[in-house]
Symmetry: C2
Subunit: 142 residues, 2 copies
Amino acid sequence: MRLSTKGRYGARIMLDLALHYGQGPIPLKDIAERQQISEKYLEQIITVLKIAGLVKSIRGVHGGYILAKPPAKINLGQIIRILEGSIAPVECVDEPDICPRAEFCVTRDVWKEIKRAVDGILKSISLKDLVEREKEKNRARI
Amino acid sequence: MRLSTKGRYGARIMLDLALHYGQGPIPLKDIAERQQISEKYLEQIITVLKIAGLVKSIRGVHGGYILAKPPAKINLGQIIRILEGSIAPVECVDEPDICPRAEFCVTRDVWKEIKRAVDGILKSISLKDLVEREKEKNRARI
DNA sequence: ATAATTCCTATAGATTTAGTAGAGAAAATA
DNA sequence: TATTTTCTCTACTAAATCTATAGGAATTAT
């Protein structure tokens, strides 16, 4: 039931961009330094987010990345789904056809409940919420 | 965020044993056939459950496995934790020391929320509950 | 021109997953 | 006691996934 580094880092990248929203493009180098993640690896992750339309890029000097929408319009569910694929704990939840017992399977019902719960939490938390939490929690450090 | 086959199969094995609770030892061969899982692989999984004290084994002819406790006293949380390790979506939830930012990290707070939710669901569902669901759902097939 | 950036493609070691294989040990039963 | 049925234990392995690293091409501001 682990999230890979893509999902984890992705969430942190997006929060970082949200914290600097309105300050123009943020170069990957800065994010990498603040988040202590290899720039090259970040690049791969943010490319996926870009293709999905959650961030925009500006090339060249003074370039970087910005959120494609205001922080309130992006939630964690979108980010995680893009980077990790479905959040269902087992494949048959989304694709019942892969298993002949899907229709009758009570364990599958449990996995569905879990998916619904996780989905609900992730959808309910926007980047704006995270920014507010961050400011509240770490007032002294910012 | 996927469960491995160990957790999935483990849940099905335990449900199978719960459905036959009170009928004496159930040989692995039978479970393997009903659940369509390789007997040899099942063996590895059930061994872990045995070491953890959730099932007992009886050797020899008419041997097999039985639940070590009544179905009402075993919940899915125990089964999954034994087979998959912690259900936390990221390691830092359980072991904050591995990450220097753990204390201030708002994304970690989200992962904690998710863990709590999943944990709650799994703990709340006992094998007895699953047996009842199975009987209700598949009355015609049993 | 130069420097700072993103963009694109390829590679690769480590770990995990999902099994397979085979011989050994215990118990029931004929 | 010989046989059969079952669990027990140890080892192996192919494939996939994870977690990056590397290098150069393209773009833009100054």
